[in-house]
Amino acid sequence: MSQSTFSSSVSAPRPGETTWLWLIKIVTGPLLLIVLLLHFIANHYLGSMSSGLMTYDDVIRYFQNPIIPAIEILFLITVVTHSLIGLRGILLDMNPSRPILKVVTWLLVILGVASIVYGIWLALTIASKGS
């Protein structure tokens, strides 16, 4: 009996969440696992071999390989998108009114876009410090 309760509840778009948003969240999930693994392997094993990236100079040197800012930017976009759609899903459970939901959605979009722009700027700034 309890088995059927768990089995019947499968992740699905919440009321107020479009199928597209839900799908993006579901697809960025496994993508994140892959990119996070890359992020980790790169940061902790390719940085300075033994100690990771524990100084400013380490990080700058590490960012001279163009694949590194590329991985970081891909990770940034994926993780910000996934986390903010997820956060919106949690907020939807408070059953906000339509106008409030609209404000929440816009705030999250602004936060997301600002974070991604800032992150890309930061990655490129760090990469340019070595040259």
Partner: protein
Amino acid sequence: MNTTRNQPSARKFWSWFIPIGRQVGGWAFALNRITALGLTLYLFLHLIVLGLLAQGPGAYDKFLVLTENPFIKLGEWLVVVAAILHGLNGIRIVLTSFGVGVVRQRQLFYGFMIVAVFAILIFTARMY
């Protein structure tokens, strides 16, 4: 479709975080949600802290001294543990979203959580 069941409300909102007395699916849901909030908080802190890199070596290296602090280390440990739990539980959610293992959710959840415990133990041993 039964639309009267499972309707969200502000009152019910908080009860999602306390799965006591609920079935294993409720625990899985709460685990996913709590780790999600923790990881989101960490993400934005992480982005802010990395901003120190733009200010030059002094600011960043001075901040990194904090990573020796046992409380900060515990915080970092929590982030990795949350990521392991959220990621593995998330695989179950993705699989069942696409119709894989829907009637075996409980087993999938337990299976992934056993993997998570091993991953956490290995990580803890490597970190400390």
